[in-house]
Symmetry: D2
Subunit: 358 residues, 4 copies
């Protein structure tokens, strides 16, 4: 089969370089172009010595026409608004876009404007975009794949890292009606790569090392994205209280989610619901009863692991904990999972590996 040509836009950010790494190891994709506004003209291997001896690609500017000439699919690993600035043009030029930014995740342009403080400049695309959580929206992604095969450029909005882990932790309980009420608390812990590559006081080793802290409390931008997904799943308007924490690791994200158990629900009911929900998912595993996941088990992979418990002493609360790699299933690997579905490839192609951390 002919190689599918891929361009990574924003290739030097942590998510972008992870997409590059995955494309380089993908049997059906070829990394034909990687862009970075600031580093254009230098080799990717000069920025990330890990590519020394493996990839000699020179970074270029993110010009839509050049991308359209060189690539069938573009992965956008850019900050919000940067995708707004380029995606409509890429689609018009026939390039299928797998967008890792937040720009097309929220269905409602008004909510986007409220949380991101800037108007949405292509709200007409929101209706035809699929939110790329394959375990929830596989049918939608496959439908995009049919359109892509007919030559149409399509757009996938890859979920954020916290929304991915929170959704995977909450979906089985909400879908099965085991959780009642409208409140879900998501208390999550992320590795420092989630804070991005730009050096600042918070990402300085001596600040982040040997410390944990909460941040963005009560106003993190992933909140409405999580609420949108849980509302879709529960069939009623859900309210999410979300607290992210920073911990001293490079990769990894754990979301521990609290939901009110419906009357009569037992621990076995909960365990069964989670096991059934993910039984046929290649990349999401429910751990045996009594086990909770650790992030190192899924580090640098497209995988997620979920553990669940019921605190049924007095107030009855379902506690579900989901481990992902914030750059893997939480970003680049999930982007590739979506791309595989859209491009007609096996869903785990190039992203089936297990975790290299011990």
């Amino acid at each position: 089969m002919e190689q599918i040509r891929a361009c990574v836009v924003g290739a030097t950010g942590f998510a972008g370089v992870e997409v590059c790494r995955i494309v380089l190891g993908h049997p059906d994709l070829e990394l034909t172009m990687a862009t970075d506004r600031k580093a254009a003209g230098t080799r990717l291997a000069d920025v990330y010595p890990a590519f020394e001896g493996a990839c000699d690609l020179v970074l270029s500017l993110p010009e839509p026409e050049a991308i359209a000439q060189n690539a069938d699919v573009a992965f956008l690993a850019v900050p919000h608004t940067a995708s707004l600035a380029i995606t409509p043009q890429l689609l018009a030029l026939g390039v299928t876009v797998i967008d890792l930014s937040a720009d097309y995740r929220l269905h409602d342009a008004a909510v986007y404007e409220q949380w991101y403080g800037t108007p949405h400049t292509s709200p007409e695309l929101l209706g035809q975009t699929v939110y790329g959580l394959p375990e929830l929206n596989r049918a939608g992604l496959l439908a995009l794949g049919e359109r892509h095969e007919k030559g149409e450029a399509v757009l996938v909005a890859v979920p954020g890292c916290y929304p991915t882990a929170t959704a995977l932790a909450a979906i089985p309980a909400l879908e099965a009606g085991l959780a009642t009420g409208d409140l879900v608390i998501s208390d999550a812990i992320s590795g420092v790569s989630g804070a991005g590559r730009t050096p600042n006081a918070r990402t300085h080793f001596c600040h982040a090392n040997e410390s944990v802290e909460a941040y963005g409390v009560a106003h993190h931008r992933h909140t409405p994205e999580i609420e949108q997904t849980l509302t879709q799943v529960a069939g009623r308007e859900m309210n999410v209280v979300f607290t992210p924490h920073l911990a001293p690791l490079t990769r990894g994200l754990l979301a521990t989610v609290y939901m009110t158990a419906a009357d009569g629900v037992t621990a076995n009911d909960v365990q069964d619901a989670y096991e059934r929900r993910y039984a046929n998912e290649a990349l999401v595993s429910t751990l045996p009863a009594g086990h909770m996941p650790q992030t190192s088990s899924v580090a640098a992979t497209a995988r997620a692991q979920v553990g669940v418990a019921l605190d049924d002493r007095r107030r009855r609360v379902i506690i579900a904990s989901c481990a992902i790699d914030n750059l893997g299933k939480g970003a680049a690997a999930q982007a590739m999972q979506c791309a595989n579905l859209v491009l007609g490839l096996p869903e785990t192609q190039g992203i089936g590996a297990t975790a290299p951390l011990i």
Copy 2:
């Protein structure tokens, strides 16, 4: 002033050695004895090379009579049940006991038996023991001090690490009536020293490093201790859902606590209540509005820092985050804070330092 003679029982565990370190730097205490069943006969500096050149004490066996001969006060840094086995005898021999174990924390012997799976063998002591959270029970500790000064041996039960951080995060809201309902969720993250010094699969560097995970979900033994304190503070029976996590740092503990806000409570009300509650506390600080604490700010100290926020979008939730050092304010330094109060010394004597981590 004559030096007060101190013995540390269980001196090679992580909390025990931290008590030793604090005693060595304390201007009014002298480390006359340190015990360890297994390492008796060897120098403490042979077990912990940090003491090389600073302390030549040889570890001895924890014989009550020897302790009574050598010490005015004994710090017990032992596993639960080990304190039951020695405390009554020490008290009878006239030694004031600062107990870091869980054995005398719960007022109700039946609750102890339920959670620790073993009967309480000296329930008669529970009534005269003070739970050593000075910010809550300072009067009780000072009253013990009066009895100690008259020559009576007294007993302090030093709180656990998670209960300390959770209590300090929840007390101002509960005392001020800002939090309603009977449910408090405490989602906490601890450094690995909280898992103790015994090497096992979980404390192996390659397991703990670069990973976070929940453990003891829905059944951690600190739960009833937290409930006891919050019930005392709130004046109504409180139910705690408690999830501890392990993160890759040596020292540090962060508890993020969720409480339902009472009607009409504003973010300013919450901030004010916390600032007022801790205004006169030397070791607990409320951070300015909008700031959340990080554990490195209190590492290796007796200090705690609290930050608070109100999520008032729809479901109105108070989120309070408290950072301590699990071995400091969460164990050894808080033990010394209690000892200072009982021994008639300034409360922060020997434990006033600020954090050496950056």
Copy 3:
């Protein structure tokens, strides 16, 4: 092509599980068997949750007959002497052995006995074993491949982690005659996984974290192995002073090597010699002049990166620094590189990935 059946002996050690991970991702190998004396009967995924959802293999006992029935090639990831106990039998049963232990690395049985304190029980195999450093002994490995293709079981002794990094750092200078004298100092730093999976005081997170230390000074068992290789390369008897250090990372090994520069040698000579030596190596890269490698660039890979400098102020010393992953190029991935050569596969098959750490 039919899958080649592979057995991993000692599958729960850190090197063993890494071989399992590599085999699972290898397009031409199938993991048909994995053994562990203690964990036999349980699933590998129960020991390493990273395999949950990816591998359901149940661990078995290391019985040679069973291995011979189930596998064409056996990877031995066992402590020294354990390979002596099983390798002759495996070879006799027709199983090609890729031995990650130290048992067949030293050509001289007397040196083995001197450093390992136990007699070598199958010295007759030493003459027909190839030391599996492909960048040095590729011809020998390919020759084994010819014998393997004819149905003969062959034996590869995979180098130790420190010897691999030290050799790759020193070979170009010694081969090109740029280094004079008989002394090479290798000062190396390893991640904690190099200390093995058994929990002990040294591998406890709280001991290893936030600390570096030297160990095994002047008597580490990798010393004679390094001397054997450097003597082979230099064509004269070389003496190695070797100091390993432990640093707080899971994976990674850096060897910084000091050699006396021959008269007249310039910095350019040195840089050129290293670039030329590795120009055609797929897995070893010489960094541009002025750059030194970091271990994260090769973490979890089969790759090595080398940087070199000349201190020519007065005493003229060549300083070469080589970064590998102690479990990757330093163990499991190099074992697979050797296996690929012996099995007639492309040398980098299944091990071509770049580093997932940033």
Copy 4:
């Protein structure tokens, strides 16, 4: 006794804030002033939340007159050349200066210019400055103390971190004549705080974490400082080859030093020489034979630990390893040790603590 008033210039850098922390805990010193050009006007506790509740000092500009009005002694924790710009004026104004910068360490202004690339603007001060390694130059520091007591402002040049550890590792062998030749190799590993507080690519958590690397190979500016000290000690011109490495820890520095053993020297001779040399030093310990130090044993302290071995197989090499805290004995705590000597205080006043890391 009246408190001695201290000013810390450059109080927000890592060494500067550590001096502040030490002064705050010092019984005889009072932190009357702390300066920072950029942060002047804000509280130190706003920059370092660790001081919240412990210190309300507002940062000011480093105006010499203001310093002279407010302080008896000034600790300069500034980059090189910044000390040149202020020290002569401070001395003229009667302020004793403890300079942590590199500006007055080298006795020869020409060597300074060669390595720092800028002329020395007050070479006349070099002759009356004492290099503040108390274990080597205690007499000189005490002589400064006599002048200070008479009202004269004096100047101490506090050694760099690598020179401190290397000197402490090499001094006993060189002084005792156990090491021969003119070459000393110092291979050292530092925590990331040594790279300073300014965020950049190298200090980003995701770069430094899980990695080790050499840097500044063959041209690090600490080289001439080390050579100056070892030449003084050996009584012959010594040549140092120095390779610093970066490891993923916040605090800590280990220097492993290689010296050629003189004929006939035994391992016992070496061990004895080190034990004798440091027997009366309060802050430097020689570990028992067979033990090597780890940096966590001295973290956040003024202490140093040294271990030593002899590799006497063929080429006979003395290997000595010294652990310090780069910000402690390697900077701020050593500055205070010097200040104590100059100010007529007990040498370990305020810096006698043992390490809080386990």
